[in-house]
Each structure stands twice: as C-alpha cells, then as structure tokens.
C-alpha cells in the first residue's frame, strides 16, 4: 500500500480511492433507515435515561419497624433511620408481618426494638436491637447493615455520654477519630456523571465493533466484495474506508451525546482537553473495530459475525471497570481484561473528562490501546488478504 505510493499523482489517486470508498460506505449506512433512527435513540435517549435517576449507592432502603417499646427513646432511634439511606415504611404489630413484607421484596430491613428499651437505656443497662436485612442483593444488604450499625452506635454513645456528663454543648469531649472526607473529581457524588459517561462508552463500543464487522461480511455474503477486489483497490483500501466511515459516524454520535446530553443536561465537566478527548475516542473506535474486523474474517455470514462479536462485546462492556471494580476480580480475569481496549479507554475517558489528566499521565493506557489496536487491525488485514489471494 504505502510503499506503492511514489509520485504525487499516484498519491492523489490513492487518497481519491480512499475517499470514494468512504463516501460509498456512508451512503450505504444512511440508507439503512432503521439503523440510523436507532443510532439517534442510542446516543441521545439511552444516554439520557442512564444518567437520569439511576443510583448504585444505598438509597431508599425500605424499612419497617416493630417497636415493642413505644417511648421517646425508641421513636428517637427510628427517627434517625432517615432519607436518603432509609425510607420508613411504617410500623408492624408483629415481627412476622415484617418478615412477610421482606418476602414480597417491598422492604429490605426489619428493625425490632425490644420492650423496656427506654427504661434499660436510662438505667445504664445494656440492651439489644435486632435488625433483619434481606441480602438478596448483597452489597445493598451490607450497606444497610453498616449504616444501621453506625446509627445505633452513635445513638448509644450519645445517650451514654449525656448520662455520664461527657458531652459539652452537644460535642463529645471524648477521644474519637472523626472521619473527614474529601471526595475528589466528583465532589457531590453526582451519579449522573458516572452513569452517562459509562453509557456513552457502552454505546460507542457496541457500534464500533458491530458496524464495520457486519459491513465487511455483508459485502462478502452478497458477493459484492468480488467486484471490489477486481477493481484496482488494495485490500487495505477496501478495509480502511469501512472503519474510517464508521469512525466518523460514531464520532458524530459521541459529539451529540457529549454536547447535547452530558454537558447540556447533566453538567458533566470537561476538565481536560476536548481535542484530546476526541482524538482518543477516534483511536479507541479504530482499535475496537479491529476486533470486529478480525471476527469478520473468521465468520462466513452475518449471523455468525454478529454472534461472535457480541460474545466478546458483552463481557467487554460489563467487566472493563465501569460497572464492577477490577480490583475485586480474580487475577486471571483481571489479566484477561487487559486485552480489552475498553479497559484502557475507561481510564482515559474518565481521566480526561473528570480528572483533567493529559497524555503525561495517560500515556501507558494510550500505548496499550495503540498496541492492541495495531495488532487486531493488522491481523484482520492479514486474514482478509489471505482469503482473496
């Protein structure tokens, strides 16, 4: 390819062929009305839905209470289980009724306050409060229990400090370690930032892998690739424009969600360089489409290539570090995920947008992505050539 380009005229012809092919791909894509309509849905509506109102932190955990004491103290304790973590759903007459509510799944915590709770507290005796937590969703169950422990602990400490006269104008004069937290990069813990960025990554990945792969196989399935191969186009000139055209489309989609949704509606900051962000997205789309092209050279028809790429894309999306923390995965899987371009792009994308990092810090991720993309793309091109020799 490149070595064949010598004179300026030949070079002009080379570029002209590439651009003609890109236009052909774009036309073909835009004729698929259903796909284009859906493209807007995915990059705009899906990103909007993901960012608005999905929360992974413990909020609104339904709480029912069996209060056998019914005194100032027990009411004060119940009062402390409040929004946003707990949602008080009322009292039950009997613990059994509470357990039934847990069975139905409307509530997940049953707090059981024993009789004589106030009396024992006032007289300095120890008492115990029971908390039954539905752990069908284990992180939620753990969070609920840990918030509960914190609330009850503080309540008890304050009550006893008052009794012992160790509390001076509301502050405890006790040797305690207070937790002062400062959250960086997303100080208000606005989950729409995380969610909408992650959704853009998901949609980008699906389109980047599937679009070029299906386009290449379709050409082979219909036999139109034979026409291209008898033309003066080299395999590179056939494959590259497919990826280039899809990259352009996906970049347009990213720009739509970035400016139309992320910035306009969710106020996601762009702390780093916008140009760098788009450059990196381009690089990512290229890299990822290499994966699709590789699958396209192995598959014989579109159904096969779709299944093959989706087989790989679903784990990529779910395990690359947005939804689940990679630190907690088993080592073999963590190392396998290093092969996922998205794993590196997650760092880059969140880094540029929320942390304002530049290439000086991101270069290891960028380098891995380039290496992966080069290898995938090269392998795909090699297979494609071999099939038509």
């Amino acid at each position: 390819m490149m070595h064949a380009v010598r004179s300026p005229m030949l070079q002009a012809v080379w570029w002209r062929r590439i651009s003609v092919m890109i236009v052909k791909e774009l036309r073909q894509l835009f004729r698929d009305k259903a796909l284009i309509g859906f493209f807007f849905w995915a990059f705009i509506m899906d990103v909007y839905l993901a960012g608005s109102g999905t929360s992974m932190q413990l909020v609104n955990a339904g709480l029912v209470v069996h209060d056998a004491d019914q005194t100032v103290s027990s009411r004060e304790l119940i009062y402390r289980f409040h929004q946003p973590y707990f949602r008080f759903d009322g009292l039950v007459d009997h613990p059994k009724d509470g357990l039934r509510r847990l069975d139905f799944g409307d509530d997940i915590v049953l707090l059981d306050i024993p009789p004589r709770f106030h009396e024992m507290l006032a007289s300095g005796e120890s008492t115990s409060v029971q908390m039954q937590v539905a752990a069908t969703h284990s992180p939620q169950g753990l969070s609920a229990a840990s918030y509960g422990a914190r609330i009850v602990g503080e309540f008890g400490l304050e009550a006893s400090a008052r009794a012992m006269g160790l509390s001076a104008n509301g502050n405890l004069s006790l040797p305690v370690v207070r937790s002062d937290h400062r959250i960086w990069y997303n100080p208000n813990q606005d989950e729409s930032w995380f969610m909408s960025i992650s959704e853009v990554l998901t949609i980008t990945t699906i389109f980047a892998v599937l679009l070029p792969a299906a386009a290449l196989v379709r050409e082979r399935e219909r036999g139109t690739v034979e026409q291209l191969l008898v033309s003066p186009l080299s395999p590179f000139q056939i494959m590259f424009p497919k990826v280039a055209a899809m990259t352009l489309v996906i970049l347009a989609g990213t720009a739509m969600s970035l400016f139309g949704i992320l910035h306009a509606i969710f106020n996601v900051p762009m702390k780093g360089s916008l140009a760098l962000y788009f450059a990196m997205t381009t690089l990512y789309v290229f890299t990822t489409s290499g994966l699709g092209l590789m699958a396209a050279t192995i598959a014989n028809n579109q159904a096969q290539v779709s299944l093959m790429t989706i087989l790989v894309v679903a784990p990529m999306i779910n395990l690359s570090g947005t939804w689940t923390p990679p630190e907690a995965m088993p080592i073999w899987l963590r190392e396998l995920m290093l092969l996922s371009p998205l794993h590196h792009f997650v760092n880059i994308s969140y880094g540029i947008q929320l942390k304002g990092t530049g290439l000086d810090i991101l270069w290891p991720s960028v380098l891995s992505m380039v290496a992966l993309g080069g290898a995938l793309f090269g392998f795909g091109l090699w297979r494609f050539r071999r099939q038509f020799r």
């Binding site: 908390m131 169950g141 006790l174 159904a303 779709s306 790429t309 899987l333």
Partner: protein, 384 residues
C-alpha cells in the same frame, strides 16, 4: 393452523441452523461462556482498594491506627507519602483510589481525651465505590475510637474496661441477614445472570434468523407459499425457543453447581417462568426483526435494546427499590425486573407463585402482547 406445515417450517429452520456449524455452536456456547466470565468477573464486593497514607504524626498510635487498614482485606496498601503534593498525580492516574492523612498531634490529642479529625481523600469517579470506601473508613474509625473511649472512660471514672464498654455501647445491634446469610455477592449475581443471559441470547438468535431470510430474499418463498402467517411464525420461532429452553437447564446447573447458589424454590415453577421469559425475549427479537431489513441493524438494535435495560433497570447491579421515583417507573416498563424478582425469589427466598404471582402475571401479559404485536406486524404482502 396446520400442524404439518408448522412442522415443515420448523424442520427447515432447524436444518438451516444445524448446518451452520458455527452459528449452532455459538448458540450453545454463548450462554456458557457468558455465565463463566460474568460469574467470576461481576464481583460486587469492593475489595483491595488501592490507597496511600500521609502520616504527619509518626507516633506509635498513628502506626497502630494505620495498621488496621493494612490488616483489612478491603484495602490494598500502596505506600507511604511524605508530602501531600505527591497525592494528586497518583489519584489522577488511578494508581490509588484513596489517601489517608493523619494530622500532627494525633497521638497527643487523643491521649488527652480530645477528638481528632483524620482526612480521607477519595477518588469520586465511581460514586458507588467511593461511597463504599467511605463506609469502610468510617467503620475502621469507629472501631478504633471505641477502644480509645473505653480506655479513657475506664481511666477517668475508675471503672473496669468491661463495665466501661457496656456504659459506652449500651445498645447492641444484632444483625441477621435473611435469604443470603453469608452475604455472598455470588449468590446475588449467579441467579441474576440467568436473567441476563436469557435477555441477551434468545432475541439475538431470533432476530438474526428472521432477518437473514429477509436479507437473502429467501423469505419470498414463504410469501408465495400456502403457509399462513401464524404457521410460519410458530415454526420459525420453535427451534430458537427450543435452544433457549435447553440453555435454561445449563444455566441453572451452572448457577447451582459451579457458583454454589442455593436453590430453595420449586424447580418446575422456575423452569416454567424462565420459559415464559424466553417467550418474551424471543418476542422482542421477533419485533425487531420485522422492523429492520439488515442483519447489521438487527444485531445492534437487539443488543442495545436488551443490554441497556438489563444493566440499568434489571435489578442486577442496582436493586430496583434503590432507583429514583421516575426511573422506577421506567424500570417497571421492562420485563427484566419482574423476572429478576422471580429468580431471586425462587433461588434465595424459596417462595413460589403465592408470593410471586404479581410478577408472573405481568410476564404473561408481556408474552401475549409482544407475540401478538409480532403477529400483527408480520405481513405476507410487504409494502416495500
């Protein structure tokens, strides 16, 4: 409906599927492979949080305090920093996710009975993880404080440590976890993965199978044949439903035996509802396939339409009860949530139709309406 014609369409479809060896093996392999990587990879526990410390006190008490973080399996010690300026590049490059800063006079003030604030800087990029990190730090601080307070009170009041402890913590909280006593994330995830896989795989197979005929033009054979619309759809969908019906068993076996999730409910009830859910997702695939003309579009649309609601509203990662009010309404519009309730109900709670009937009836309505819409949309006389 003529049974022989249905059988003819089904056997044609089955042969076509069987002859495409790669398609056939992928149809069975995808659920297994996904179950494997998701089962091991979708760990919801936040563990091994990489962190660094800045100790400005350098006392025995501060070392004692920091030792508790090193001992915890939730934290992964990455090093001690001498200067706060070193923090920023480390957090920015995501090599650490949290920094603990111990102020000067940490020991002095605590021994004098005064409160001390320890600052924790947390990377807030992933809010759930930073929230959990915060919770862990608070738990360690509380445990550490309690010991100090006990010693302090015992000293100034001249009490025995046990008596002092009882005075300070008059209320004991007894936590009992129901349904998942050891609070294993695998118990939550493995059953829900059955839902995830059954949402993604069946509609994909169906949509590709039908659009394939449209794109190749072989569907004109059907248009010009005596096969009625209903006969065609039933025969066409039967092989794909059969594949998924078999996969339900495989997924159930993997969840129970490989990931050791308990199954407390009725197996038959579970299988019946799972099959009902397969009809729904197959129906989704059918509708997509009738609205598009290329397999490219069919694949992308089915994947996005099934991945997004599953991840956001399916109750897999985020329990539906934790959603914001308007999102909760959206979640109720997708069938995934109801099936997750059934899966968790049958696996972990051991409840059956007596509790899950609302979810089952919603799924029945879904199945009937999706398949009828599919029937209504399918025309033997295409307008284009």
């Amino acid at each position: 409906m003529n049974v022989r014609r249905v059988a003819a369409v089904a056997s044609k479809e089955w042969r076509e599927t069987v002859r495409d060896r790669m398609f056939l093996s992928l149809a069975f392999l995808i659920p297994i492979l996904w179950m494997l990587v998701f089962g091991y990879g979708m760990v919801l526990d936040v563990e091994n949080i990489p962190y660094a410390v800045v100790d400005r006190d350098h006392s025995s008490l501060s070392r004692d305090y920091l030792y508790r973080f090193q001992q915890s399996r939730y934290f992964d010690f990455k090093g001690a920093l001498t200067d706060e300026r070193e923090v920023e590049p480390l957090l920015a490059s995501s090599r650490i996710r949290a920094v603990i800063i111990i102020p000067e006079k940490f020991q002095e003030r605590l021994l004098a009975g005064q409160a001390v604030g320890v600052q924790t800087l947390v990377d807030g990029t992933f809010p759930l993880r930073s929230d959990i990190t915060k919770g862990y730090v608070i738990a360690i601080n509380t445990a550490f404080s309690e010991e100090l307070v006990v010693a302090h009170v015992a000293r100034i009041k001249g009490l025995a440590p046990d008596r002092a402890r009882q005075l300070i913590q008059p209320i004991k909280l007894e936590v009992r976890y129901l349904y998942n006593q050891e609070v294993k994330s695998a118990w939550t995830i493995a059953p829900a993965l059955v839902m995830l896989v059954l949402t993604l795989a069946p509609p994909l197979l169906t949509a590709l199978g039908i659009v394939r005929e449209k794109e190749r033009g072989s569907i004109y054979n059907i248009y010009s044949s005596t096969v009625s619309r209903l006969e065609f759809l039933v025969g066409k969908l039967a092989p794909y439903v059969a594949i998924s019906a078999f996969n339900i068993l495989v997924l159930w076996l993997m969840a129970v035996y490989l990931f050791a999730a308990p199954f407390k409910g009725n197996g038959l009830f579970f299988y019946a509802t799972a099959l009902l859910f397969v009809f729904i997702t197959t129906g989704q695939g059918l509708i997509v396939s009738l609205l598009v003309n290329t397999q490219q579009a069919a694949a992308i649309i089915t994947v996005v339409l099934s991945i997004v609601p599953t991840m956001l509203y399916g109750g897999l990662l985020v329990p539906v009860s934790a959603l914001a009010p308007q999102t909760k309404v959206i979640a109720h519009l997708f069938p995934e949530m109801y099936f997750t309730n059934i899966v968790h109900g049958t696996f972990l709670k051991g409840v059956g139709i007596e509790v899950l009937w609302p979810d089952v009836s919603v799924l029945v309505v879904y199945a009937i309406s999706l398949l009828s819409i599919g029937y209504w949309l399918f025309r033997k006389r295409p307008s284009v």
